[in-house]
Every structure is written in C-alpha cells, then in structure tokens.
C-alpha cells in the first residue's frame, strides 16, 4: 500500500465518524504543515496557531474531500489559505494588545486560548530532541543506520533497499523497525520528562 492509500484509508475512517483517525493524520503531517505555514507566518507561536487552525478547518471540510487529489496536497492548500487569511486579518488588526476582534476571529476562534508562545524551554527541548535522534542514529550498527537512512532520507521502498543492501525484504523491514526502536528508546525518557508530555 502506498503512502497516499494509507492517508485515504485514514480519511475514509474520519468520514465514517472516527476522530482518532484524524489524530493520526495530525501526528503525521503536523511538522510538514507547520514548516510550510512558517514560510508565510514568521512568528513561530503564530505559525503554530495557524497550523492548528488549518487542521481544524481540514477536519470540518473532510466530508467534502473525495480523494481526487492526495490528502496532503489538499491539506497544504488549506494551510496556505489559512496562513494568507491570517496575514490579511493581521494587517487589518489595530495595533492593540487584543489578539483578535470579533470579526477577524472568524477563522481563529479559540486560537488565542490555545496559543502558547515558544518558550526557551520548548526551544531547548526541540534542540534536545534533534540531538538525541541524530546521536542515536550515529550510534546504530551500520546495517540498521543504512536501512533507516535509505528509507527516511532517500525515500526508497523496502524492495529498493533490499536490492541496495543485498538482503531479503523481510530483513529490511526488521532492520528499519529495530533502528526506529533504538532511537525511540533514547527519546522516550526525554519526552516523558517534558512538561505535559506534549512531545
């Protein structure tokens, strides 16, 4: 099953009333969408709000999604439109301390409630997460590191990795899993100690 088909499966689950399936889509695309939105919205806290808002808009619009395009292109389009609306609303906003007035908050209801400025702790946490993942990758046995790198960075399929590494597909599957688990083992203590377990 291709990646797009997995998304389609999750979308159909959401369309049958399964909210948990949408949470899996959020886990999968939150950073990719956040990165895209941060090109429009420079402030990281605002970009985070816009990203949340884009996901909520996508959820509301999902009944109309027919799978004619890939889910992520559809989601990215919503993200870009939400970011543009935010910028337009931001320009009209009077220079006051009030984040949104009643008219401008059409697309951003509750956003101010959930807004959390990127604290130094969060930024430090981000760096630590990146450090742990990169260090863990370097510490992996070469066959595990190669398998995970070929998959995650080069985007090769298991079949292609099997050809490159000259091993059965089942071995590729096992190596990639073991590599992920080894990295995850180092990450879990860090994430579990973070406040509110928001990582």
């Amino acid at each position: 099953m291709a990646d797009r088909e997995i998304d389609q499966q999750l979308v159909e689950r959401v369309q049958r009333g399964d909210k948990h399936a949408f949470e899996l889509l959020v886990s999968k695309y939150q950073r990719k969408l956040g990165r895209l939105i941060s090109r429009f919205v420079k402030d990281s806290a605002d970009a985070e709000d816009v990203t949340q808002e884009a996901f909520i808009k996508a959820y509301r619009a999902l009944p109309g999604f027919r799978g004619e395009s890939a889910f992520y292109t559809w989601l990215y389009r919503i993200g870009i439109n939400t970011a543009k609306n935010y910028l337009l609303a931001n320009k009209r906003r009077p220079p006051s301390s009030t984040p949104f007035d009643s008219n401008e908050s059409e697309s951003f209801e509750d956003a101010s409630l959930l807004r959390e400025v990127n604290t130094p702790e969060n930024e430090l946490m981000s760096k630590q997460v990146v450090d742990v993942v990169q260090t863990s990758l370097l510490q992996l046995p070469e066959d595990l590191r190669s398998a995970l790198t070929l998959r995650e960075i080069e985007g090769l399929s298991y079949e292609e990795i099997a050809v490159v590494m000259n091993c059965p597909i089942g071995t590729v599957r096992s190596r990639i899993f073991r590599a992920r688990e080894a990295v995850a083992e180092n990450l879990r203590p860090l994430l579990e100690t973070s406040k509110g377990n928001r990582w």
């Binding site: 959020v26 996901f55 109309g64 509110g196």
Partner: protein, 164 residues
Amino acid sequence: MNMEISALMDGELLEDESEKLLDHIGRVDEGRKDWEMYHLIGDVLHQPDHIHCDLSAKVRVRLQDEPVVFAPRKRGGNHKFSAVALSAAASLAAVGMVVWMSQQIGSEAFPQMAMQQNLLHPANVKIQSKSNDYLMAHQEFSPSTDMNGGASYIRMVNYESEGR
C-alpha cells in the same frame, strides 16, 4: 505489533493488514504513541531545523468540541466502476425484459393462434341455398379471409367508354 506500525507508515503493508492495524492504533494508546514517535523520528531526520512541540494534543482538545463528521463512502477511483456496473445492470435488465416479453407473447398469444389454426380444418358441410345470403352478408367475419372490416366491401369494377 510495533514492527507492523513501522511497516505501515512506510506503506509496506497490504490493505487488509493496514485496516486491522489502524483499528488497533485507534483503540490502543500505546499504538498511537508509537505512531507519533516514529513520525517524530522521521521528521527530525527530514527537517531537523523545524521541530516544534507536539500539536496533536492541542488539536485533539479542539476536536472534542467539533461535531463528528460523516460523508458518503465513496472512493475517487470507483466512479468509473459504478458507472460501468450501473450500465451493465441496465443492459441486463433491458435484455431480461425483452426475453420475458417474448416468452409471454410466444407462450401465450402466438401458440394460441397457432393452435387455433391447427384446429381449423375445412368443413365438409353442405350449404343450403338459403344460407348463401347470410354468409355473403357476414363474409368479412369469416376466418378464411385475411382481411376483415371494410375490405370485404371492395369490389373490382370496370367500364368501357362509349367513344371506343
């Protein structure tokens, strides 16, 4: 189970396997955490400069206030199949109707007529002279004539002009 989650996010499971696994991940918290963890690792390897705190918890809170969405179960790729299936069903129905009608007509109307015709034998009956007028008057109802109604009143006439 974790190995299956790892394979699922790489798109390396069959459709029925992934359906079962998605059920599991939706139900079991540990499965969802592993899904999130593996995606975080992938994102860090892809874009280490843009790693922020997990938004899924915040979105989850907001989703609680959202109504459950429902949509018709349709897949983009099945439209053609549906159209073909519908047209095939319509064609079959049309053919079935024609066959049924022909059977109805064939088994009832035509055989009856055929049976009637088989039953018709030339009667060797002496017709009395006084019956001739009656038969002449009602000859249009005679089964021996193919043409009924006004056809029996058609008469062939001719005449010669005086000049010839």
